[in-house]
Symmetry: C2
Subunit: 349 residues, 2 copies
């Protein structure tokens, strides 16, 4: 059986309290006592029982991270950073995926209230049916990504501005017929899902709406009325979906000057579809992405995209979370992370 504080105390000839003091190092312990205790700790190979500590302290030392789709490279980057930066604060990370079933988000909040995690970083699939909008006391939660609310703290980028910037870049390059890939899917009879009205459950719906807005605004300002024929909806932001949809699109429409894809992952699918169709990028048609995932430098051709400091993004989320965890009643804050356009070969003229 594993050693407990009691065993250690007995071996060291002190009380459990003293052992606890040594372990947590908060109050002063006489050096010789400390020495004896530490020897006993090593000798018995003592490992604290986190369940007991958690029960006593009301904190588990873990945070939850919930992302819609763990397969996206973007998710991998966020996860990587959260794990690294949380580790520095002494936090473990429990990970969840929410896109599969909306129920998951509720389960997660439950877990938080069950003291399994002390806080939660949540990238909601869709705020409208997000669990955070439920009445009832929330645990410490920070939203990341693209939502519009003021109930909980949030870190995000300015999606509208970023989409404006990218669209402007494409116009500046001389492109006129600019398609957008990843615009919100309007549930219709043809989708076959049977949903009527209401919001779609496409991942990143809020982002889709905001990026579409920025895209349209710039086209309007340039006097190029937005053309709904150029807005290509996508029910899931994956290369599979994008390749299929873009492939069908170019089969049945005149080739646009450029495709503004709402994520790099979409752009990967678009590049693939264009290559398959024998369309040269950037010769015949330009492609731009969004997020600047690591792979976007290594696509063929390299991808023009929207970049933001992901480390700052995650660090800010953890800062906000720490704030909430130490003071449940702190006013929710919103942190905006700056973005910029990275120009690569895919939109060269």
């Amino acid at each position: 059986m594993r050693a407990t504080v009691k065993d250690v105390a007995k071996l060291a000839g002190v009380s459990p309290k003293t052992v606890s003091n040594v372990i947590n190092g908060v109050v002063f312990v006489r050096p010789e006592t400390r020495e004896r205790v530490e020897q006993a700790l090593v000798e018995l190979d003592y490992v604290p029982n986190m369940s007991a500590r958690g029960l006593r302290n009301g904190r588990s030392g873990m945070i939850g991270l919930a992302l819609p789709d763990l397969l996206r490279p973007y998710s991998a980057e966020v996860t990587h950073l959260v794990v690294e930066l949380a580790h520095r604060r002494g936090w473990g990370v429990q990970i969840e995926e929410t896109a599969a079933e909306p129920k998951r988000e509720f389960e997660l909040l439950s877990k938080a209230r069950a003291h399994l995690v002390d806080g939660l970083i949540l990238n909601p699939v869709n705020l409208d049916d997000s669990a955070v909008m439920t009445a009832g006391p929330l645990p410490a939660v920070v939203l990341i990504g693209d939502v519009d609310q003021d109930m909980v703290s949030q870190v995000a980028i300015d999606n509208v501005a970023a989409a404006r910037d990218m669209t402007r870049h494409l116009l500046d390059q001389g492109f006129r017929r600019i398609a957008a890939v990843g615009t919100p899917e309007i549930p219709s009879g043809s989708s076959g899902t049977g949903r009527i009205g209401g919001s779609t459950d496409a991942p990143g719906t809020a982002a889709a709406r905001l990026r579409t807005q920025g895209y349209r605004e710039i086209l309007a300002e340039a006097g190029i009325g937005p053309d709904r024929e150029l807005e290509i909806g996508l029910d899931r932001w994956s290369p599979e979906g994008a390749a299929a949809v873009v492939g069908r699109y170019i089969d049945s429409h005149e080739l646009p000057d450029a495709f503004f894809c709402f994520t790099d992952t979409i752009a990967v699918g678009a590049l693939s579809a264009l290559w398959t169709a024998g369309v040269a990028v950037p010769g015949d048609c330009a492609v731009a992405g969004f997020d600047n995932i690591g792979e976007s430098r290594y696509t063929v051709p390299p991808l023009t995209t929207v970049d933001f400091d992901r480390r700052l993004f995650v660090e800010s989320a953890l800062d906000l979370l720490a704030e909430r965890m130490s003071d449940k009643d702190a006013t929710p804050r919103r942190v905006m992370i700056p973005h910029r356009i990275i120009t690569r070969a895919s939109t060269a003229r």
Copy 2:
């Protein structure tokens, strides 16, 4: 304050034990009693305290997942599957990244012994300095990937055979000068890391060794003596590293007929470097990968690669883990997952 079983019991007019029985639904409870208790549970919005339950039961309901590099798409796929399939068994998943510092692996084992996780799925960076080789009682651990040991259960693919198969495929396509990208780096003065002798800490070192072995075997069998000039080492299996190394390689060597990249991620970097250098794939030179990550269908051109059933892989790991968790003394088992070559345009003739 949050409601406890005691509060619920009082409200329902029963004892805490009965509440517990209702919650865990193991023994039979009279329907009307059950009804009263359930009403009280809802009314008080009861959420069980997992720390207390964990302390009492000695199990946390969580498993740990430790991967060397969370940024790799391969890691994202494994994580996605582990989260999904563990969820079905009622397990949460705590995630860790081990490549950054070897110390992490020990911390993880510690966490396991601290009852923070009930079991561990571990993809060791390098078995030689892996924590599992340490003396001392191990928690329930299953290794995934490419190691050679029999201390703990393991799920893997036959790397040697897979590399043989891929190399044979390339030979069958008529390629003769076949380069391998990702062979083990021999620490040398030029690496600048200051390491001398011993094993490298490159991720996937064991895989690198085994795949190199299969590659050499087939070349030898074909009477094409392996040529060390064609074995391209890599200190990290990333697109960045691969693009840089392959770029330098083709600048200073005659172009091989084909590049056998030891992961798809490496192949992505290689494709990028070749594109940058104006080398047509598959026209001037073929490229093959390994792992069949989702993106490999959407590279330009699509990638020939080694595929294996990742879901089966992860499910097997969880099966083995469940086995170990229920019986610490079960004999360690090894499960091999079959593989196959997926032929795509990148190695067309």
